[in-house]
Symmetry: none
């Protein structure tokens, strides 16, 4: 469980994170809203906490959990290398996504082909 990607690979953990977007929550609240057993919630929260996705403060017997930005930035940073690429494939559809991204550098040398592909035969494989 080293990487942030493994952390967010778990659906229940993503559900917890999405819950926390709106506001901080106690374990019991998440348990009810997500309808999962309490130990499950606690265990996932532990993973999320150790990965830096959330932090908690104590309020009497409760623990209030809230998001922390770090790991999200990490995911975003990884995604950034592909962002240039998929906005290049843009149709009119995802134009709105483009506006939240920086403008990529113009394609420098996108096709560095090592294979000679002399016999490029179009294959209707799709």
């Amino acid at each position: 469980m080293e990487s942030v990607f493994e952390i967010i690979a778990e659906p229940n953990r993503r559900a917890i994170l999405s819950l926390l977007v709106s506001s901080q929550q106690s374990v019991g609240e998440m348990e009810r809203q997500l309808r999962m057993p309490q130990p499950t919630v606690s265990k996932h929260l532990r993973v999320l906490r150790e990965a830096g996705f959330v932090e908690s403060t104590v309020d009497a017997q409760r623990r209030l959990y809230r998001l922390k930005p770090g790991p999200f930035r990490e995911v975003d940073a990884w995604l950034a290398q592909f962002r240039r690429f998929w906005s290049a494939h843009v149709d009119a559809l995802e134009r709105h996504l483009d506006r939240m991204n920086h403008q990529p550098q113009g394609s420098s040398t996108p096709t560095k082909r090592k294979t000679k592909e002399g016999t490029t035969r179009p294959k209707p494989r799709t």
Copy 2:
């Protein structure tokens, strides 16, 4: 292996995807650059292809793989709900949470006490 998140949770798969950012590659090229056995590359490529991350065309005996944008957009869409939250500074985060301060329907109106970090407690090793 339903979700895109499980797909990118695998380090070797992320390595393959990063390789393909620069240009399309054949299996053999990836095998060399990533120094992993050919069956491993092929198997990961299969997963990536079925998840829509890559597509391939046939060039004689080779298969040239290249990225496809769809799943990346999906990851980005998920990340979007957290973006407003992390892109601001921690300062803004605190204000945000402060503003939210959503007080749930506590069943018994417990002592509303704000304490400090009680996140990790040193655990006796057995």
